[in-house]
């Protein structure tokens, strides 16, 4: 059995930032991650991170309030407004801190942190490092974590990389630690702690057409869900406008921020033809651009009936090489196209999970000692549609806040001691589950269930939704859930068994898919990324509220929760 004052689960930006904060307060922290922290999906973020720094010559009048307003308007008024303002108020300090820790941001001619325009933002406020901002930030935070880990005068930070968490230990609404498998050895172990911070990322891989890494299975959200913690607003799935049509690799919004055009098969910048994007064109928010691209394709104006052209040629080779070198290489590697000479073939695809673990603006919830931050959480700052550049910001602002809150909780004494026998009991339950999976007599192939789930979600929970297909999709997912207990693994060894991890996580993916479909079916309105062709208008009277899904032991029960609209009055969204 291992012990740390605080356990952090997940080694991406939010998890690392939380772990650093706890260690700064001289408290022991164990960071558990199923992949090495440097492999986390934060690394794939490209375009940048928002903060009202006023560094751009057109950003002089920007402010944290305007950043908050843009975030709230972008969210189609489903964000909790005080939480959004908390994030934007903390933004400049967090960005300067990243710089002080060595993050190699691109620079303005005056040598300040460079900022670029992004969708839905009133000013150029997206700080960037070429088009590899997530990579630079993740390396910087890992480097900082190593600094804390290797400095002897500090209290201990231990990074458990390639440990996979199977269970959150909650007893009488108090969080007591986790159970995790050492992947290389295949052995389960108990991690006791006073508090747990959850930072496991999104659930993009329930879809097939997604920009997300294989790691983003949704298992991270499912584990606390199974312990009774709610999942909020999961029907709000962001479809990024520009993913490569070949394999859905992301092409940054920064490509449009830098001046790229989206064109149809007539060579038209068609966004001008739609009232909600006629002014902002390519830098309208993602939900609007993605929808209008999909409309063009459905109405026969897609190129080869399949995709839209992202044209950067007019920017010139110098600017592409300087500002967008990463997506140029992606286009060359995965689509065989060099954007200097040709347009990039793109279409919208799943990209981000606005919803997630139901926590408040302190990152806490009804379970004492449990905190969540980053994409796995729903605070909610993104509401029904996240603005580009706000996800990286959310990880470092709320990662720090989660660290603070957990450390304060532990310093104040945490919770009363628990009978140690619960650990042995839960460990044997987990061991039994794994043995059952490895020795299952079933017949179902789990990769087949996964690919069926992917198809259902792509087809029936996509950009345009309606009652009939959502209902069909839900029935089909429920049928797959019935099959799941009969899955059969090809291999039964415990050691370094990646198939076992896939099979375990599939259960979580199916339960997250169910919540997405149920929430989408129940929400008879169109708001942000959730567009119902049968209810094309936003309906504040009935649906200006958060969906909360709770696990009843078999399926999800939905209820609803107030939205904080204490600062700005909801209005119609136009760009």
């Amino acid at each position: 059995m291992k012990y740390h004052s605080v356990i952090v689960v997940g080694g991406g930006l939010a998890g690392l930032r939380a772990a650093i904060e706890i260690n700064k307060k001289n408290m022991t922290v164990g960071l558990i991650s199923k992949i090495h922290p440097i492999r986390s999906h934060s690394i794939a973020a490209q375009g940048g991170v928002n903060a009202a720094l006023n560094n751009h010559h057109r950003g002089y009048y920007d402010s944290i309030e305007k950043h908050a307003f843009d975030t709230i308007k972008g969210s189609d008024y489903l964000a909790d407004q005080k939480a959004a303002l908390k994030m934007t108020s903390n933004a400049p300090e967090r960005i300067y801190e990243m710089e002080s820790w060595g993050c190699p941001f691109s620079r303005t001619p005056e040598g300040k942190i460079a900022q670029r325009p992004f969708g839905g933002a009133g000013f150029p406020r997206t700080c960037y490092s070429a088009d590899k901002t997530g990579h630079m930030m993740l390396h910087t935070l890992y480097e900082t974590a190593v600094r804390f880990e290797t400095q002897n005068e500090r209290n201990e930070m231990t990074i458990y990389d390639e440990w996979f968490v199977t269970r959150l230990i909650v007893d009488n609404d108090v969080c007591r630690g986790v159970i995790a498998i050492n992947i290389a050895k295949g052995e389960l172990e108990v991690f006791r702690s006073e508090a747990v911070i959850w930072a496991t990322g999104g659930t993009g891989r329930v879809y097939g057409k997604t920009s997300n890494a294989y790691s983003n299975t949704g298992w991270g959200m499912a584990v606390p869900y199974y312990e009774g913690i709610g999942i909020k607003d999961l029907e709000f799935i962001q479809f990024h406008p520009t993913e490569l049509i070949t394999n859905n690799v992301l092409i940054t919004e920064g490509a449009r921020g830098e001046g790229g055009y989206l064109v149809n098969n007539k060579g038209e910048r068609f966004l001008a033809n739609y009232p909600d994007s006629s002014k902002a064109l390519e830098v309208a928010p993602r939900d609007i651009v993605a929808r209008n691209m999909k409309r063009e394709i459905l109405e026969g104006r897609g190129i080869n009936d399949k995709y839209i052209g992202l044209d950067l040629r007019h920017l010139g080779a110098k600017r592409i090489l300087e500002r967008l070198p990463g997506i140029r290489m992606h286009s060359i590697h995965f689509a065989g196209v060099d954007p200097i000479n040709d347009f990039i073939p793109v279409a919208p695809g799943q990209h981000y999970t606005m919803g997630g673990i139901n926590v408040n603006e302190t990152t806490g919830c009804e379970v004492k000692g449990f905190y969540a931050a980053g994409e796995c959480s729903c605070i909610s700052v993104h509401g029904a549609n996240r603005l580009g550049g706000n996800s990286l910001l959310e990880t470092i602002t709320f990662g720090k806040i989660a660290g603070d809150e957990a450390a304060n909780y532990v310093s104040a004494g945490g919770s009363s001691p628990v009978n140690a026998s619960i650990y042995d009991k839960i460990l044997s339950e987990e061991e039994a589950k794994i043995n059952d999976l490895l020795n299952s007599k079933g017949k179902e192939a789990h990769p087949k269930i996964r690919s069926e789930m992917n198809n259902i979600m792509d087809e029936k929970a996509g950009i345009f939704r309606e009652a009939k297909t959502l209902k069909e999709g839900l029935d089909e997912i429920m049928a797959l859930k019935e099959k799941y207990p009969n899955i059969k693994l090809l291999s039964s060894n415990k050691k370094a068994n990646f198939e076992l991890l896939d099979a375990i996580q599939l259960k979580g993916s199916l339960d997250m898919a169910e919540i997405i479909l149920k929430g989408a079916l129940n929400r008879e309105e169109s708001r942000g990324s959730h567009f119902r062709t049968d209810f094309p208008k936003r309906n504040d009277e009935k649906y200006l509220k958060h969906t909360v899904a709770k696990w009843n032991g078999k399926t999800a029960d939905l209820s609803y929760k107030e939205v904080d609209i204490s600062i700005y009055e909801p209005k119609e969204r136009k760009y």
Binding site: R39, G102, R107, K112, A213, G326, A496, N497, F498, E499
Partner: protein
Amino acid sequence: MSNIKTFKVFRFDPEKDKKPRFETYKVEWKSGQTVLDGLNYIRDNIDGSLAYRSSCREGVCGSCAMHINGKYCLACEQQLKELSDTITIRPLANLEVIKDLFVDMAPFWKKYKAIKPYLIGKESSTGKERIQSQDERAHLDKVIDCVLCASCYAACGMNAIDPEYLGPAALSKVNRFFLDSRDSAKEERLAMVANDHGVFRCHTMFNCQIVCPKEVDPTANISNLKRNIIASQMSGKLSKKGV
């Protein structure tokens, strides 16, 4: 062109097997698919016990470096259409095999951690960012793109014969901070690697330069450190002891 590729994959479980072997798998493929897609097909449909790392599938997370038809590269970036009908896959060298293509990265990370891989510098006095000119920032281009995939570490002949040698990735990271105008520990960084297990173990074989999937060019980074160490020694700032 055949629509079947034959994957010859290195298999080894040191706890069970007396020696490694190659298993052969037939994989149906289409244009646009990568070696990683092929491995995923094998694990999902033929042999679930095949062990390898993967995550981003877009060449940015650095998980899936392996030896494919004679060269280290990222499996997720290697298109199948560019390879022969038979594809031979081995794990990264110079690191112990845990199982199949899944190697123990601990020595690689240990060396990374040993070189103080973080900025050591004065905080800004304004509470805002430190000023760094665009030219100063441009010095960091390329070297900051390293994804720590360990292709260079596996390809390096010196890592093969000297287990203590820091290796191309860790040394490039030293140069990354040495080149940063904001870093104030330059002499300390040079002293740290001016020894037999540091830059002077590099014999400039260019293997790391050839295999790096991100064009970081570790050889050039190591050479820059060597040049600066020698200049520092000539000017008496750095002792020659131990060289």
